[in-house]
């Protein structure tokens, strides 16, 4: 529940009580119509409902109650007496407010019947009260924010010399404009003087902004309302939806003349040179080069915006579909992708150029289909983030800490299933940051830090993965303490040299905890290994970094989707396997002299890399080929080689889960169907590594 909801809830309760009191007072008034105290009580109840209602967004209630309150203000001032009609109407008004209160949370507009009833009550009240003031045209500025056609504006924004002196920051305005629609911003630095002449209290740079938006001219103007007098500002409409068909996009010369950067005569002269206009103008010095570039940006932007304009208008409608239907669709698309790759393989063998081009076409289509189908399952992670606000607030209060949670990247989209299964691990990580990471205010002050700690939660796309980071500015991890604990628990031997990072990673081991006191928040030492396993089951990875006294950063890397991965297909014996391409670094031959029983280590350009032989691990019989190949992959921050007979190549892998019986097989995470219809097993490299290490021991 958000802060806002909490306030609304509190208001609801308060209003409910007030309405109860109101009813009682009104009924009492019926018997003692002259009781000034009762009249005051009615007035105060109305007044509070109105005031708090407006505060918490119950605008309907505030507006309605305002009018009833006005009438009672008059009664209070003795302008007219309490009568039965007034009481009837006020009781009706009280019921009406209750209705509005109940109605306020439904997304739809208030019921037409309710609205009519409200108007009837107000009409009645107005008729009752003498010399009713002209119903104060509560000109709550009606939003002129009418959605209009898609319009492109050119904004030239040039802060004046007094700009900074008013405490304004030009970048804020650029950001605000960007929020109105699609922008291209072009920075002009040509008027910035040399360093020795610079007055740092004056803004020398200026901007050309091309804005494509549905918003009205006045809204664009509003952005700059505070600084209208402190800057040179021009906002011109340069393209509109209806102009798109009529006129071709403007040519560079026209744009420059439009902007006042070039005289029409000079344009004619330059055009006669029969070269690219931009080059001519810049070379001849008629127009400074940056301005030509800015105009070119505008030209390109108008073209781009015309392209996006059509679909942009229609994006408002949405459709609710049952999740199973989607899963079924994803499944079908998966099958389609498999059939498509079978066709591709068959066509390749046949070598018919026409079939080949058809098959390529099919591949493109099925790729697009796959992407958009998976896209439907994508949800922004923001909803999950907002859940955590409450958690942080409650937990920090419980622990006597002051912590702000900042979030970013809420719009980052991920597969619905991933988001759902990510909730618990993230909660655990956050709890850890709050409980172990951020210190109490007094400790923080003693360490010279602001008493309020900050935990930041961010998500962003990075390649085919989503990276979620939880960063706190707390005390950081103590490598010495962790090491001591690990030795004490027998998790590492005391004489092993290891880097801080390796030591930090020990906290992910089962049964590890350094907390001095066990709180009921975290610290039973069952957390981090569970977190790690949960994230790995989503084919993700978790990494930890820390600086003592400065804070800890935990990075969780997750695949965008669980249904389809890019894989590398390999063969050992008669069996085919697929390794997730995301963790494959390179493939090399296993040098024959290193292939002996020996130490299972290869020398990769001077680096020692241990390897696992798939043939041994899965006990595959038969004779290995003369030269085996090694897939070098990075697992949990370390490089490991997987020795196979043969690397086949990239394979678009639709993941099928293994049946229940096989679910616990170590080293495998699923299966897929290959181009020729046969099956390949998907390798779970972290699991394989663990299992192999156990066997080794």
């Amino acid at each position: 529940m958000s802060q806002d909801d909490m306030h609304r809830m509190a208001f609801r309760e308060e209003a409910g009580e007030l309405l109860g009191e109101l009813e009682a007072s009104l009924l009492a008034l019926e018997d003692q119509p002259d009781d000034q105290d009762l009249i005051n009580r009615v007035f105060r109840a109305m007044h509070t409902i109105k005031g708090s209602g407006a505060m918490f967004g119950f605008d309907d209630i505030a507006a309605f109650t305002h009018e009833v309150e006005t009438v009672f203000d008059k009664v209070r001032n003795g302008l007219f007496p309490v009568c039965k009609d007034l009481l009837d109407l006020t009781l009706a008004a009280r019921d009406h407010i209750l209705l509005l209160l109940e109605d306020a949370d439904s997304a739809e507009d208030p019921d037409a019947a309710i609205q009519t009833e409200g108007r009837r009550i107000l009409e009645g009240l107005r008729r009752l009260s003498p010399d009713s003031p002209v119903p104060q045209a509560q000109a709550l500025p009606s939003e002129p924010d009418v959605e209009r056609g898609y319009v492109t504006y050119r904004i030239r924004f040039r802060p004046g010399p007094g700009f900074y002196a008013t405490g304004n920051n030009p970048l804020n305005f650029l950001e605000d404009v960007s929020e109105l629609g699609t922008t291209r911003i072009f920075l002009h630095t040509e008027d910035v003087p040399c360093l020795e002449d610079i007055d740092p209290e004056i803004c020398h740079a200026w901007w050309d902004i091309i804005l494509g938006t549905h918003k009205s001219y006045s809204l664009v103007q509003d952005v700059f309302s505070f600084v209208e007098d402190d800057c040179e500002l021009s906002i011109e409409q340069i393209d509109a939806a209806d102009a798109a068909d009529a006129a071709p996009p403007k040519k560079l010369g026209e744009i420059l003349v439009d902007r006042g950067d070039l005289a029409p005569d000079d344009l004619a002269l330059a055009l006669s040179a029969q070269k690219r206009l931009g080059v001519v103008l810049a070379d001849s010095g008629l127009v400074p080069k940056p301005r030509v570039e800015a105009a070119l940006v505008e030209q390109q932007t108008v073209r781009d915006m015309r392209k996006v304009r059509e679909p942009a208008v229609e994006t408002t409608s949405s459709l609710r579909v049952a999740a199973e239907k989607l899963d079924e669709l994803v499944d079908l698309v998966g099958e389609l992708v498999i059939v498509q790759s079978q066709i591709k393989q068959a066509v390749l063998e046949r070598g018919d150029p026409m079939l080949k081009s058809l098959s390529e076409h099919l591949e493109r289509l099925s790729d697009d289909l796959r992407d958009s189908t998976l896209g439907i399952r994508m949800l922004p992670i923001g909803a999950t983030f907002s859940r955590f606000r409450r958690l942080v607030r409650d937990l920090s209060a419980e622990l006597g800490k002051e912590i702000d949670l900042t979030t970013s990247g809420e719009e980052t989209e991920m597969d619905k299933t991933v988001i759902e299964r990510l909730g618990d691990p993230l909660v655990h990580l956050l709890r850890n940051s709050i409980d172990h990471g951020v210190e109490r205010p007094d400790e923080r002050r003693a360490a010279g830090k602001p008493p309020r700690g900050v935990v930041s939660l961010s998500a962003e796309h990075s390649g085919g993965a989503v990276v979620i980071r939880i960063v706190d500015d707390g005390r950081g991890l103590d490598p010495v303490a962790i090491r001591a604990k690990a030795v004490e628990r027998g998790l590492m031997s005391p004489d092993v040299e290891s880097s801080d990072k390796e030591i930090y990673n020990l906290i992910f081991l089962p049964g590890f905890s350094t907390a001095k006191a066990i709180t009921n928040v975290s610290g039973r030492g069952v957390g981090m290994d569970v977190v790690k396993r949960a994230i790995e089951s989503l084919r993700g990875a978790v990494e930890i970094d820390s600086e003592p006294g400065r804070g800890t950063a935990i990075t969780v890397r997750l695949p965008l989707t669980l249904a389809i991965i890019d894989g590398l297909q390999v063969q050992t014996g008669q069996e085919f396997y697929v390794a997730p391409l995301s963790i494959v670094e390179e493939c090399v031959d296993l040098p024959r002299d290193e292939a002996g029983e020996g130490d299972r280590i290869i020398n990769l350009r001077g680096e020692i890399v241990p390897y696992i032989r798939l043939r041994d691990f899965f006990s595959i019989s038969g004779v290995p080929p003369a030269v085996e190949q090694v897939v070098i992959s990075s697992v949990e921050g370390a490089r490991v080689g997987i020795v196979v007979d043969r690397v086949i190549g990239e394979h678009q892998t639709v993941i099928k889960s293994l049946g229940r019986i096989y679910r616990d097989v170590e080293g495998l995470s699923g299966a897929t169907i290959k181009g020729d219809g046969t099956m390949a097993l998907i390798l779970d490299l972290p699991g394989l590594l663990r299992a192999s290490a156990e066997q080794g021991n």
């Binding site: 802060q3 505060m55 900074y164 002196a165 605000d176 309302s225 900050v454």
Partner: protein, 120 residues
């Protein structure tokens, strides 16, 4: 780290509303009842000032000039609360160095809109 905003107004109720709204949004708030009080309390980290114009002892315009005269606060956002009829006052305030203004009466949303516009 949360930012600190000073609200200056001789009307306790306006001050209370501003402080409530801003605190709810996570800002730290310092309250002052007039320009003189405000100048006395202006020290350390103050990231923004929201001030009324008509006040006893020292009015808003004078306060803005005094704040701008201190190097530490020369460029912080200062937002003034004006009424519709005070067009000349508004101009005076801008000249004194006000960043922007909010027209009374205003809602918490409008207040936050302006705060977020000038303080980031």
């Amino acid at each position: 780290m949360s930012k600190t905003i000073m609200t200056v107004d001789d009307s306790a109720s306006v001050r209370q509303m501003v402080a409530f709204t801003l605190k709810k949004e996570g800002y730290d708030v310092i309250e002052a009842s007039d320009g003189k009080d405000a100048l006395g309390k202006l020290k350390g980290a103050v990231h923004m000032v929201v001030t009324d114009l008509n006040m006893p002892n020292m009015d808003g315009i004078e306060l803005i000039k005094n704040i701008r005269a201190q190097a530490a606060y020369k460029f912080i956002p200062i937002v003034m609360l004006t009424t519709e009829s005070q067009a000349t006052k508004k101009q005076e305030g801008k000249t004194a160095g006000a960043t922007g203004w909010i027209v009374k009466p205003f809602t918490p949303e409008q207040l936050l809109g302006v705060v977020k516009k000038v303080l980031r």
